[in-house]
Amino acid sequence: MFGAERLSLFDLNEQQSSILYDIRLPRIMLGACVGASLAVAGAGLQSLLRNPLAEPYLLGVSNGAALGTMLAFVFFESFEFSRPLLAFAGAALAMIAVYRMAQSRAGMNVERLVLSGVIVTTFLSSVIVMLTTLLDAAKLRSFTFWLLGDLSQATRGGVYLSFAAVIIGTIILTSQARALNLMMIGERDAFDFGVEVSRVRLLVFGSASLVVGAAVAASGSVGYVGLIVPHLVRLSVGSDNRLVVPFSAIAGAIFVVLADTIARTAIAPRELPVGAITALVGAPMFIYLLRRN
């Protein structure tokens, strides 16, 4: 992408063409799908939970998917679809666990949700670490990289799957956007004004699990995308989820592709995991949002 040589798309030798179509393009496509996935999941969860800090990574949902992926990796390696399937299941279970823990008699406040997310995240991390003892050294290294969010293993199959998931997930979330506008004001308000709250919750949790599961199975836990992107989108288009959700998908795709380009080139020829770049931007933003709340 930033090569010193001028290339024409129509005049590539076999090696160049292979680099472009088998390595670079799937990686960019996957980055775009992962970014869109995490951003729409963040936008949906934030409105549903009335909490601008809700984010798949911070809520432990990404780690749930990571654990699912890892279980598939360790125990069902021969079964191709076991990774995304178990990632989806892991994401959904983690989400339900955090949601249940965060609820109290007095409702759900920001701190309680974030704390529940931390607890679930650390618990799942420790299970993941225990499972890594079952891996050999070479696998362990690639796994560690993957865990931090890594797009370098992009395959066509992974791209297709993530693409399908993010299209379905974004359509479902956008279809619930108007209901989410009411949920964002308050669950009771939403109910009073005709939203079938439990149905919307199921659809949002379901589609967030779907997109996060697919994204994590393909690229590991890229953090903070779901926090940064919807926040920036809201600054420019306002809070209406009918705009926030689709624009988050686009902005998330761009954000992760850019972050990955930096990750790939900053210390070339060595690579950084893309999750390290997104966290570098995201963690200070989390503190900023927390203080502003």
Binding site: R188, G194, V195, G238, R242, N293
Partner: protein, 256 residues
């Protein structure tokens, strides 16, 4: 239109409401009075289907409420409750348009009619120029009026108001209840209004219900219900009664 027959509502072991009956009729306002914890808010939450009664029946135009979808209930019944703050920068107009949710399809945007109704409701509530203001920048009283505007924008025929005047100055208290009365008189709506202000109830309500410990202690026109005996019984307060020199309605003065 909305009929409540002999309902009991409870949380866990005990009943918060027992044997309560209410008949809401087009054009009429019911003032709901009672000490804290008497079950007033529980009654309103039951009337709009949030809580299910343990026994008894609620019907809207003859149809049991529990057989209706959430959308159908919301088309007919609007609630004005105390509002929590939202952490997202929602504008006043967006907030009021939320009241039109049941008239759109999923992906749909509001129609011009929705926006017109929302703007009309805002202007009725003395909020014409507030449309683009973020909700979080409003004072308590302004928020309360926006919440009323949202309920009016729904066009619902049944209005349930939980202490709508709590944060309002004198002028806006009267404005709010006048708006509710207009909606009832002119469009055949019906309202239940919870208030702690007995005089406001006397002025604006056609009927008054006094709740005590989940049971109806008295029910009827304000002049019949607002008596020394009932007020002593429900609020444990001695009161002097006379007539409001301007409206001729009963006036209650608590004796401290």
């Amino acid at each position: 239109m909305l009929d409540v027959r002999d309902i009991s509502v409870g949380y866990g072991e005990y009943d918060v409401l027992s044997a309560v009956s209410v008949e809401m009729r087009p054009g009429r306002i019911i003032g709901l009075l009672g000490a804290n914890g008497a079950g007033k808010t529980t009654l309103i939450r039951t009337l709009n289907g949030t809580l299910a009664p343990r026994s008894g029946e609620i019907t809207l135009d003859g149809r049991p409420l529990e057989t209706m979808s959430r959308r159908e209930v919301a088309r007919n019944i609007a609630v004005v409750a105390q509002e929590n703050e939202t952490r997202f920068p929602v504008t006043v107009l967006e907030f009021v348009l939320a009241g039109r949710f049941v008239y759109g399809n999923n992906f749909g945007w509001e129609t011009e009619k929705d926006v017109d109704l929302a703007r009309a409701a805002l202007s009725d509530c003395d909020l014409t120029f507030f449309g683009q203001r973020p909700m979080n920048s409003l004072s308590g009283g302004e928020r309360q009026r926006v919440v009323l505007a949202r309920a009016l924008a729904t066009g619902a025929r049944v209005l349930l108001l939980d202490e709508p005047t709590a944060n309002l100055d004198l002028a806006h208290q009267a404005m709010m209840l006048r708006l509710v009365r207009e909606r009832c008189r002119e469009q055949g709506a019906s309202a239940v209004v919870i208030t702690h202000d007995l005089n406001l109830a006397a002025e604006f309500a056609d009927d008054v219900i006094m709740l005590k410990a989940g049971k109806i202690a008295a029910k009827g026109p304000p002049s019949e219900v607002l008596t020394n005996i009932n007020i002593k019984n429900v609020f444990d307060v001695d009161a002097l009664l006379d007539q409001n020199p301007s409206s001729g309605k009963v006036r209650v003065t608590a004796v401290y």
